[in-house]
Amino acid sequence: MTVTAFLAILLLLGGVIIGVPVAVVLAIVVILLEIVRAIWSRNGLLDVQYRRTLGRDRITWGEEIPVAIEVWNRKGLPLAWLRADDVASPGTIVRERSLIVGGRGLGVLRNTWTLAPFERVIRRFHVGADRRGVYELGPVDLLVGDLFAREAAAATQPETARFLVRPRTVVATGIHRRDRWGGTDRALAGLSEDPSRFAGIREYAPGDAVRRVHPRASARLGRPVVKVFEPSRDREVLIALDVQTHAGAAWETSFDLEEVESLFVVAASIARSLADERASFGLAAAGYHGAESRFAILPPSEAPGQAERVLDLLARLSSHPSAPFERLLATISRVLRPGTTILVLTARDPARYLGHLRRLEQSGCPIVVVACGPNGDRDAAHARAAGLAARTARLDGPWRSAGRLVVGTVPAVTRAEAVAT
């Protein structure tokens, strides 16, 4: 029994005993309010169904997911109001509503309905995010009011809905990859060709291998011709993403979020560019990504959906490193096939791990350092000075609005300065 109900009963008894009809009438109405509240607090949330449906579970930054929020009052009691506070991850953007700070101190998508008996209401929203990442909607706190709109009952539904926001991709100028023998470790011929991609025939020339002669075409033409294949390119690339953007130790948690996001946009754009060239590529990074391991390593593959997998992994990666980049390089040297080109994407001076890169190259994995930080030219020059191939990559604007990723080479002056350094 509530305090109000107790006082109302006292008022009722007092009114009856002393003989004050007004007190009796008032007390009866107040008791009615309390009874109504008791009924609604017991049954208000009974048979109330709340459902949240996401149209997709993955988007690229800038897109939106249609979200349907459905509430169904499956009983005969009308609800003056029903409030649902759907907890949303920080950074979630709802086009139609502004998130407010809820009872848990987190941003919530708040919806309030008034529901007739058996009424089902569906509201449609569009949800996005302010940067890449893994976002969740839920759990939801339900609160219901009684017939006279007083708060009557509350409950929490723990179900959550998760969606990924992949980093933005922009058009990237191609990263020139060296011609290599397609997928093998030993050169069997003088030309770099991919024997799996037949291109045509040409006249036989002395020195051509007998196995390259096309017997049927030679018989048909009456002179020897040999098979010609498409030139082979370096087809296995591993993008090694250096998540750390500052020069200090990896465990220092300070980082410039915008710079990190730019780095991820560069990585995503390069991955997309490689996918467009149908290259076999993968991703490795020392960042937290939702699994137990501190390193996220996606082996190179040219299977369909590899670009999406890489982008998903980029969406999941934390903005701060989980381990020193040198340890990641040491790790990938054990899991990579020799011959795989390692594309090191970094926004800081690679001097700290140049030794590791050289060892990787000596083990048969060509290294290309892509410097995309604010001092990209200088960082690339340092890499070149260490005998590694280096490029610079720069977005032509802030990552939210950039339209192109320009991959360039290192200016000679800067290189000379770096050597001198």
Binding site: P21, V25, W81, R97, I297, L298
Partner: protein, 484 residues
């Protein structure tokens, strides 16, 4: 926002404002009546006049107060004093006594001073939407305040006492009805105006709230007059029924049916004896006509005076309903970007009206085969327990048993059916009797079990529209490997 939308929004804000004005006027009129009663004068300003003063206070604070800024408190105080004087002079007797000085004029209509109080209370509701805490305090303090005022007013001698109590009853009815509704609307406005809540879309809520409130007040008015007697009777007779209820809750189903049947028989016997039986006739008491004019009883007075309050409350309620009906035709506000769909969907909920409809009693099956067929017909209404297409009786029974159905009796009944239909055996009478008994038991228990299964199924059903995004699944799909 167009002019029509602004008008619609203003009309939505209007009901709680009007109701709170009426509630304020109701309790202030009781104070005015109390002051008048102690001065041994009849009350001269009622709820409508006080409501005008409250409205004046609200409008002046809204229109003038904002412009004056920091000078407003002093001006408001002056305004209050002026209105209090106007309230006093609203009485002809006070105006007549003004020639003798301010004191006699004030003594002629002291209740008029509360006009200043009404203006002061009007200042509190200058902002729209109303403050929930202000309206809640009005109800929380006004309810015991009115009771206290009635108690104090009851000590004055007649005829002022009866008049005051009648007016106070009417005002209390108006107050509690208006304040409760105003608080409900104010809460709704506070809870969800920004999140798209619009009470006009829920006429069922409005209707039920009004109905319950009016019914409670209508029931409370006569109850207030007879409450003393009723309470003494209730205490006297409560012991017996409580004892019976306590015993009855301990009985099983059969015993409760027996008691009910005996009770019905007893009532019928009593009614028959009263209608057809002749009792001893007693001479009617000799009544004497009163010599003077007949004085109405206190109950009659209370009921008469309460009627006015009920009518006023009824008028307010009618206005609310009209607003709700009219505004349902209006378009929703355009600034709400959310696409919303509303439907009335009863789903598979049972029609509540069917509960009260007497069902035709079906004949009981004569044997085990008929019992099995009848049971299948019963179970067809509960999909989890029904027999599937192409499912043999034995498979059906086994499936239910594996799923946790509460009894083995279905297997036995299905076996009886198979023996009779498939094997061509003739069942004994004892087997038929046992089959019918199993039907009786299974039709209830399996239906209950099926309903429980359906509830569990809907509660734990996965959302099929959303693909799972579990971390481990992602790990497998993307081929992530532990790196060290």
């Amino acid at each position: 926002m167009t002019r029509t939308d602004r008008l619609a929004a203003a009309i939505v804000d209007l009901p709680p404002f009007l109701l709170v004005i009426v509630a304020e006027a109701a309790w202030i009129s009781v104070v005015a009546g109390l002051v008048q009663e102690f001065a041994l004068h009849p009350p001269e300003i009622g709820i409508p006049v006080v409501a005008l003063f409250v409205t004046f206070g609200t409008l002046s604070a809204r229109l003038v107060g904002r412009r004056l800024g920091e000078r407003w408190p002093a001006v408001a105080f002056g305004l209050m004093v002026v209105v209090a004087v106007v309230g006093v002079l609203a009485s002809p007797a006070a105006r007549a006594a003004l020639a003798d000085g301010i004191g006699p004029a004030l003594a002629a209509h002291p209740g008029g001073l509360v006009a200043g109080l009404a203006v002061l209370r009007g200042f509190a509701h200058a902002e729209l939407p109303l403050s929930e805490s202000t309206v809640a305090r009005l109800l929380a303090l006004g309810t015991p305040g009115l009771a206290l005022a009635s108690l104090v007013g009851g000590v004055i001698a007649e005829p002022f006492r009866t008049r005051f109590l009648g007016d106070a009853m009417a005002a209390a009815i108006v107050f509690v009805g208006a304040a409760v509704l105003a608080l409900a609307f104010t809460r709704l406005a506070a809870v969800g105006t920004d999140e798209g809540l619009d009470w006009r879309r829920n006429p069922a809520w409005l209707g039920l709230a009004l109905f319950l409130l009016v019914a409670a007040i209508v029931a409370a008015v006569p109850l207030a007059a007879i409450a003393g007697t009723a309470l003494s009777i209730l205490v006297g007779v409560a012991f017996g029924p409580l004892l019976i209820i306590g015993l009855a809750t301990g009985f099983d189903r059969t015993a409760r049916w027996l008691i009910l049947i005996f009770a019905v028989l007893a009532v019928v016997t009593r009614v028959l004896a009263t209608v057809f039986g002749g009792g001893p006739t007693t001479p009617a008491a000799v009544r004497t006509l009163p010599s003077g004019p007949v004085e109405p009883s206190q109950f009659e007075l209370l009921a008469t005076m309460s009627l006015g309050g009920l009518l006023l409350l009824g008028a307010t309620v009618a206005i609310l309903i009209l607003i709700a009906v009219w505004m349902r035709r209006a378009r929703p506000p355009r600034d709400d970007l959310v696409d919303e769909t509303r439907t009335i969907d009863r789903g598979d909920a049972p029609d509540p009206r069917r509960r009260w409809r007497p069902r035709a009693r079906r004949p009981e099956p004569a044997g085990a085969v008929q019992a099995y067929v009848a049971l299948l017909a019963d179970l067809a209404r509960h999909p989890p327990a029904g027999r599937g297409t192409g499912e043999t009786p034995a498979e059906h029974a086994a499936r239910l048993r594996r799923a946790g159905a509460p009894s083995l009796a279905l297997d036995l009944l299905a076996a009886d059916y198979a023996l009779a239909r498939d094997a061509g055996l003739t069942l004994s009478k004892a087997e038929d009797r046992r089959g019918v008994e199993r039907w009786r038991m299974l039709r209830r228990r399996l239906a209950d079990w099926a309903r429980a299964q359906a509830r569990l199924g809907s509660a734990t059903e996965a959302d099929r529209d959303v693909p799972a995004a579990a971390a481990d699944a992602e790990g497998r799909r993307s081929g992530l490997r532990a790196g060290g």
